[in-house]
């Protein structure tokens, strides 16, 4: 293909030759013809597209939001093709290059292997891919070029950012709900002392309280509080309305970050965690524990897209039969555009479940974007405050999470 430069040089050369004829200027004629000859000869230099093999080495296949990923791009010429090659590794539009470059220009020789490195950062969760690779072979003077797209793609996921929850917040504000292996206030296997009783055959000698034996003169054993893990249900609102705002500042993005943070914390404490994402339909990650399960939850959170307008009441009606009795539910929702919230909470509470709500305020984003005039915004704020007060009146905990604040601060409202 002709480059712009080739078109300009050829056009200029023709103009010089013709102008020379009109003005009878031999210098113009000869200069124009020399330039034309140069362009025509350069067209022979238009080299063959090299047959290349491309691979990438990355530091990780998955990163967290704002995490760095280093990419080593390796290209090997498998044939005899030779020439100036421009290589452009296509990146997701959200990616920011922090080091190096995803573009290179090189003079490729037969069987040569060349590599270049760059680091990138992605601020938004999701599933992305590097590539395809745009290759452009051109002559030395950038007059003619040949382009090809190499379908070499490297997929990776960006997980929501996980914050470290302050222990103090968990223990002081909601100690029993969120601390994982929790005492159930019944006698059983555990570490926390509950009471003393007389030794009966079958009791382990380990549980004998020797001090009590010395004091009372008969065998006494310690009874402990039974501890068990919880089944925690994380419920994420991914309806269309949760995309209010832009970039990282949307209720959905904040909810995903919060859900990832809680999932990590709860799984670290050996709880069973399930994730349900509702929007157009309900996507479910069943109860499980461990590192692998965290990976599944993070992957599901990365895939969450704002879609649909499923109401909370319908979701709860469908889901409650499958949720273990008494399991705490943590709802991540901006509580917008859902008139069924009160009924959903009433139904859920009446069945013996507790719902903790972490609610990122979408009004902050609207205010930031300056899309709502002051007066309607004020009314919307009052309505939201009323809604939160109503939920709190059920005895449930609601965290009014402001934009830009850490997840920890959402808990502090409890």
């Amino acid at each position: 293909m002709w480059s712009k430069k080739a078109a300009a040089v050829t056009g200029g050369a023709l103009f010089l030759a013709l102008a020379g004829l009109i003005r009878l200027n031999y210098l113009f004629i000869s200069a124009g013809l020399v330039m034309l000859i140069f362009v025509v000869l350069a067209s022979f230099l238009d080299v063959w597209m090299p047959n290349v093999k491309i691979r990438r080495e990355t530091t990780s296949d998955n990163i967290f939001e704002n995490g760095d990923m280093s990419v080593k791009f390796i290209v090997k010429n498998k044939g005899l093709g030779i020439g100036f090659v421009e290589i452009y590794d296509q990146l997701p539009p959200q990616a920011r290059i922090t080091k190096g470059s995803n573009y290179t220009l090189l003079y490729m020789r037969p069987w040569q292997e060349v590599s270049f490195e760059y680091s990138l950062k992605l601020p938004l969760r999701g599933h992305y891919h590097l590539g395809p690779v745009k290759m452009r072979v051109k002559d030395a003077f950038d007059l003619f070029y040949n382009e090809r797209i190499e379908e070499s793609v490297h997929s990776f996921s960006v997980f929501p950012e996980i914050e470290i929850l302050e222990e103090q917040v968990i223990t002081s504000r909601a100690p029993k709900l969120l601390s994982g292996a929790m005492p159930l206030n019944v006698i059983g296997t555990g570490t926390e002392f509950y009471s003393l009783r007389e030794f009966v055959p079958g009791d382990s000698l380990r549980s004998v309280n020797w001090k009590a034996l010395a004091k009372k003169g008969k065998m006494m054993v310690n009874e402990t509080v039974r501890e068990d893990v919880m089944d925690v249900i994380l419920l994420l609102d991914a309806r269309e309305v949760s995309a209010v705002g832009g970039g990282k500042d949307t209720p959905l993005e904040m909810s995903c970050r919060a859900a990832a943070t809680y999932a990590k914390q709860l799984l670290d404490e050996r709880n069973n965690v399930a994730l349900m994402i509702y929007g157009e339909s309900v996507e479910k990650i069943d109860l499980d524990r461990g590192e692998h399960h965290l990976f599944k939850i993070l992957t599901a959170l990365s895939s969450a897209i704002p879609k649909g307008n499923l109401k909370l009441e319908i979701v709860m009606k469908d889901m409650l039969p499958y949720i273990p009795s008494g399991s705490p539910i943590i709802l991540f929702s901006s509580l917008d555009d859902d008139h069924t919230i009160s009924e959903a909470f009433t139904n859920t509470i009446s069945r013996g479940y507790t719902i903790t709500t972490i609610s990122p305020s979408s009004l902050d984003f609207e205010e930031k974007m300056k899309r709502i005039p002051a007066q309607p915004l004020l009314i919307a704020r009052i309505e939201r405050d009323n809604m939160i007060s109503e939920i709190r009146s059920f005895g449930m905990q609601v965290g009014d999470w402001k934009s830009g604040e850490a997840v920890n601060t959402a808990l502090q409202g409890f």
Partner: protein, 372 residues
Amino acid sequence: MEEKEVKESRLPQIKDIINYNDFFGEYPLIFAIKIISSLSLIFVITEFYNYHNPLDSLFTKYVKQLSDSSAGSEYFSSFKPDPNIFVLWSVVAGFIFYLFTLLKGKYKFFVLLLTIIFVGQYISDPALDWKLGEHIIPSKVGDEGAEKWTWKPIKILYEDKKESVERINEFTTRAATLIFGLIPFLGIYGIWKRKAWAVIGSIALAVIIGWTCNPNYCLENFDADYCGYDSKSKESTWDETLAGGIFVGLGFIIYIELSYAAIKYENYAEQFKPAGMDNSLLTDAQKKGVSKTLRTLFVSYLVNLGVMLFLTFTMAEIVINVNDYLSTTEGIIQDSVELQGPYGIVFTSLIFLMLLGFVRMFVGADYETEES
């Protein structure tokens, strides 16, 4: 232990005054490209004005006639553009202007101000003598004890108006030659400042100025003393002009290609810099890596350019000689086609180019239409 307070020097550091890094560049190779490109520009422009005498230009005719007939004729009386002078000075001026653009912030303003003041002072100095009164204004005058304040304005005495006129004359003459000097001025500025528009502008100006030139046109309007030649016999022969034109054409190609290469490779090196930072943040290994890549690219580029220039020169010589042979050899071609003339050389060249086009259909890479 008491910490010693380090006092900052009041003198500004040179890096705060001028961005000298831009001049030397991060890589010596690019600096070398700029020098070679500048030299080729000087060669091309010199050759260009050897063929296109500025005195034969329409610009000269109109500027001269306008100045001779206008009230300010005395200021233009010595207008006579001489390539031996203005090419060199325009190159220097273009380079100084580039250096001026490297100055930072207030220093740029101060230098501009000083330049204006110096030029004004240079022109006005002979004519103006600032004579002060006995008393600096305002002052008491009259008898002792008098309370009368009066103004004693500074007197401006016109001492040597002629010298000032000569200086204005010299200044305007030099400024007028900028019409022709703009080609090297813009070219040098474009090469060093990496401005493609300036390089393109210099080429466009060369075409425009060349267009306005007619051989011996000066003699039609002015006398031989002014024009510097008295007969039309100095016109070059057809062969000489064509042969000279090949070198000018090659010179233009070198100038265009090298200035383009300087911009291209500088931009290429630029991308390795961290955003908004300078090269100092790159490790030595990274700098060496970029230098090595640049060296490989540039050596390959130079080899390609050298081969291409040689082939172009050979091809152009062949075309001219074939044309010369056909046009001077008696036979059917000479009888039927008028080849010895500008149309003839263009005709022969186009035939050659057409043949090369046919060859290109069978030789060389073809374009791929599908993605791999």
